[in-house]
């Protein structure tokens, strides 16, 4: 299995190089990173433009710029950012932003997965019952709602609750600037800020996953080996958990892992609405400022995350289905 994992990771290296090169060209040719500087008032002296052209490597041929970047990345140098006139260290920023986004994504994925499994199983077991219709309705409701809109609705709801029920749900940022001292105060503050964006992000994934899990469970439950297990007198719980759910989870794990890319995309909107400064806003700011090395850094991390999650999904097949073995 280890050899398989290493082989998969090695195969992904040329994919990453090609994708970063394409994105590098796209961002480089889509605009001028000094555009904001050109329309500043007062207009900076000409020396400033010369300084930044050199600092941001704009005086180098495009291919040379890419070569500098890719060789720099190997040594941990992600290139110069235009933000703040070069005050931003992309490597440090990546670390910080990854932690912020991971908090959001992990919480949302765990909640969405648990909900999806529970709802999928209940819906499949009680097909065409009132709970099944209710879950189907909410599933389609969340599927049909654009994320940015759902997030705004959540905010409005939280504000209403705060005003009428005396709660104090946070709607902005990942922490409060005036939080009291102590680890507990910081922990509760972090959780408070996590509630709304997590719900927003979790519900969109939950909706799709619960439908998928329901269909998968229904298929498994109607298969011959389940009938056989029941005929042999196994308990309902054992049939469901040990035989049906375990099999139904195999395609679900694939979908979850493949959805990682979609969740990363969804964090861009979630972070924007709730003003979190994670990987999503990092990409958005990078594109807005035509900050090519920021965009590349995001792409590098996003590609790695997707590759790793796909690998995890493949490896989990082996755990969930003993028939699958890797060589």
């Amino acid at each position: 299995m280890l050899a398989y994992a290493i082989r998969r990771l090695l195969i992904s290296i040329p994919i990453i190089i090609i994708s970063t090169f394409i994105v590098f060209l796209l961002v480089t040719y889509s605009g001028d990173p000094l555009a904001n500087l050109r329309v500043k008032q007062p207009i900076p002296p000409p020396q400033v433009f010369a300084k930044y052209r050199h600092q941001f490597r704009l005086d180098q041929p495009v291919l040379e710029r890419y070569w500098h970047w890719i060789t720099g990345v190997v040594h941990g140098d992600f290139g110069p950012s235009v933000e703040g006139g070069g005050t931003l260290n992309i490597g440090h920023e990546l670390g910080h932003r990854l932690i912020v986004s991971a908090r959001l994504v992990v919480a949302a994925m765990v909640i969405a997965a648990i909900l999806a499994v529970v709802v999928g199983v209940v819906s499949a077991m009680k097909q065409y019952s009132i709970p099944d219709y209710a879950f189907t309705f909410t599933g389609f409701l969340f599927l049909s709602m654009p994320l940015f809109w759902f997030a705004v609705l959540l905010k409005e709801g939280a504000i209403w609750l705060n005003r009428n029920a005396g709660t104090s749900l946070a709607t902005i940022g990942d922490s409060s600037p005036t939080v009291g001292a102590g680890t507990w105060a910081h922990f509760t503050d972090a959780v408070n800020h996590l509630v709304l964006p997590t719900i927003a992000l979790a519900m969109t994934s939950y909706a799709a996953w619960s439908r998928f899990n329901r269909a998968s469970m229904l298929e498994v439950l109607s298969s011959d080996y389940i009938r056989l297990a029941r005929a042999k007198g196994l308990s309902r719980r054992r049939v469901l958990v040990r035989h049906a759910l375990r099999t139904a989870l195999i395609p679900f794990v694939t979908v979850t892992a493949l959805d990682m890319a979609a969740i990363l995309g969804a964090t861009i909107i979630t972070e924007r609405v709730f003003q979190w400064r994670g990987m999503g806003t990092f990409l958005l700011d990078g594109i807005t400022n035509l900050d090519v090395y920021v965009v590349l850094a995001w792409l590098l991390v996003a590609a790695l995350v997707v590759i790793i999650f796909n690998l995890i999904a493949d490896l989990l097949y082996g755990v969930l289905d003993p028939r699958i073995r890797y060589e």
Binding site: S30, G31, D32, L34, A35, N36, L37, R38, V39, K40, Q41, P42, I43, P44, P45, P46, Q47, V48, K51, Y52, E83, G84, G85, G86, T87, L88, H96, Y133, T136, F137, F140, L141, S144, M145, W149, V152, L153, K155, E156, A158, I159, N162, A170, T171, I172, G173, D174, S175, P177, T178, R272, V273, F274, Q275, R277, T281, L290
Partner: protein
């Protein structure tokens, strides 16, 4: 089964619509609609005197005021071009003192906390003496003195490796010396034959020279301290009423009172928090949820409606210093004919354009008729109307063309030499709906003269303005300039020829390559004239000539909007580059606030 499924779809649709209505509707309670007194508790406040609106003589001590910033801060030296953002300046108002501070009525006023006096003591060479308040110290106890002025001068004028926001005025200084106790008498002497009418613009702010790391005023050390020491991290030293005590990157800056504050008033707040909300649409919910106390977004119709419905929130709408304008690119030979430019500017209907754009959110905005000054500034006069520009008078516009021997006027224009008049390209910033409308209406007006104007969006305003490549160029463009309390230094780079701006190909902000020897001279005179009345005369002569030459057409000032929870006193709009925190030391709780 099908019926059941359809029923579910309908129910889902109804639920979605109901949620949408809940999100968009808000409260139906109407605001006060506007009042000129300070007793308004909700809705719009109209300022009879912009400098005193919401005044409170004795604010209560205590409280935390949270003010929304629309950008994050990534460079802390606002004297660099990278750090010179409005939002960073708003925070720095509380930390680094300036010699002069632009007031809400757009006049520069001496910072009486920092200085006891600031006078021009000699005109040739121009010599200015700043007498620093003897009590003025940085938060580490070091006296504020001439070294701090020298550091700003050296960084701005002599460091060719440094990122400098502007070196205007500083390059003409010959020497700065300190004398008296703690070197707190600062004498600034200009080079022989040089003077600077906008001298009050300089030293805003000053930086603590003793904190510069590394020390030294040679180019290498200056670059290290100017571009990094003061830029990379939030300052640990303050010379203002507050000092930064916490910075949560891209989230908030928290300031506490500076215990060494030497000013006459304040600070009154326990904490002042600048919270970064980079999506303006997220500011009203944050205000409603009491996560912020004040915000300074661009006014829009929906925003005003939301604010009118917010209990305990008041807002002040004013005319800002940012103004929209049409500019011609005179590098296009077809636009070098004055008659064409006059005809196009006459055919454009400013009233219709404003009705369709800015007046939707603020019905009180008048057209702007001057490029150098805005209403309220000494020197503002109408230099546009008399030329008939912006009236939409198609008959008069056509006459300009027929008098100049153009044919095909109103159908397909042909120039006097018999060549078809080329199609023009008008550009606006991609995604800016208002500017797109402005451009479309310009094109519609031009069509009535027989001129085809193609409307295009640009993804890079800077690149398009400088005609950087074949994908980025313009014949006509609409964008905004920021007027300034220091009109001579602000406007000269926008209208002087490259020759007047030092030669070579340096056109500064004169992107359309406008050239007029008289304008060059008047603007040069305005920079060096030490008599303020003469400066106003120079600038208005230049402005009038630019109108006569039909180079640009000012449209209107963009409105500004400051909204805040009504318990806070002394917070008021300031449309200049310093923003509402210009008087942050005075901000505090009203006595009636609980």
């Amino acid at each position: 089964m099908l019926g059941r499924r359809r029923g579910l779809q309908v129910a889902a649709g109804i639920a979605v619509l109901a949620l949408a209505a809940a999100a968009c509707g808000g409260s139906s309670k109407k605001g006060n609609g506007g009042s000129s007194n300070n007793n308004v508790t909700q809705g719009r406040i109209k300022a009879s005197d912009p400098n005193t609106v919401n005044s409170v003589s004795n604010p209560k001590k205590g409280g935390t005021l949270t003010y929304a910033l629309e950008k994050t801060i990534s460079n802390w030296n606002i004297l660099t071009s990278a750090g010179n953002t409005f939002e960073t300046a708003e925070v720095m108002d509380a930390v680094y003192p300036s010699a002069f501070v632009a007031q809400p009525d757009l006049s520069p006023a001496m910072n009486t906390d920092l200085l006891k006096s600031a006078k021009v003591t000699k005109t040739d060479p121009e010599t200015i003496v700043y007498q620093i308040n003897p009590k003025a110290v940085w938060s580490d106890g070091t006296p504020i003195n001439a070294d701090d002025f020298i550091y700003v001068w050296k960084g701005s004028a002599t460091c060719d490796k440094c990122d400098v926001a502007s070196n205007t005025g500083y390059t003409d200084i010959d020497s700065i010396t300190g004398s008296g106790t703690n070197k707190q008498t600062v004498t600034v002497t200009f080079k022989q034959g040089k003077s600077f009418s906008d001298w009050k613009y300089m030293f805003g702010p000053i930086l603590p020279a003793h904190a510069a790391q590394p020390q030294g005023l040679d180019a290498t050390n200056l670059e290290a301290s100017w571009d990094h020491g003061f830029a990379d991290n939030p300052p640990k030293i303050s010379g203002g009423p507050y000092i930064i005590t916490n910075f949560s990157k891209d989230q908030s800056v928290t300031l506490s009172p500076n215990t060494k504050w030497y000013g006459a008033k304040g600070p009154y707040l326990d904490k002042l928090v600048f919270r970064m909300i980079t999506d303006a649409t997220q500011e009203p919910p944050a205000l409603q949820n009491k996560e912020i106390d004040a915000m300074y977004p661009q006014p829009e119709v929906d925003l005003i409606k939301q604010l009118d419905a917010m209990q305990g929130v008041v807002y002040q709408e004013d005319l800002g210093l940012v103004y929209e304008h049409f500019d011609f690119n005179l590098q296009n030979p077809a636009l070098q004919d004055l008659a064409v430019r006059q005809a196009l500017f006459t055919a454009v209907n400013r009233k219709q354009i404003m009705d369709a754009t800015v007046l939707q959110s603020d019905p009180d905005v008048p057209p702007l008729n001057n490029r150098m000054f805005v209403p309220g500034q000494d020197g503002y006069q109408d230099n546009v109307t008399k030329y008939g520009y912006g009236t939409g008078d198609i008959a008069k516009a056509k006459k300009y063309l027929t008098d100049a021997k153009y044919t095909g006027v109103g159908t397909k224009l042909v120039d006097p030499s018999g060549k078809a008049f080329p199609a023009l390209q008008i550009a606006y910033t991609q995604g800016n709906q208002i500017r797109q409308t402005e451009c479309q209406m310009f094109a519609d007006a031009a069509k009535q003269l027989g001129i085809t104007v193609n409307v295009t969006a640009t993804d890079s305003l800077g690149k398009t303005l400088t005609n950087a490549d074949s994908n980025h160029h313009y014949d006509v463009i609409v964008f905004a300039w920021v007027a300034t309390p220091f009109p001579a230094s602000g406007n000269a780079p926008l209208y002087q020829s490259a020759t007047a701006q030092g030669g070579g190909d340096n056109w500064g902000g004169n992107y359309g390559h406008y050239t007029n020897a008289d304008v060059d001279k008047w603007l040069s005179d305005s920079l060096s004239n030490t008599d303020p009345k003469a400066v106003v005369k120079d600038l208005n002569q230049a402005d009038d000539q630019i109108s006569k030459d039909a180079y640009t057409l000012p449209l209107y000032q963009k409105p500004t909007l400051l909204a805040y929870v009504n318990k806070w006193g002394n917070i008021r709009d300031n449309a200049t580059s310093v923003g509402p925190p210009y008087n942050v030391q005075e901000w505090g709780l009203k006595s009636s606030a609980s």
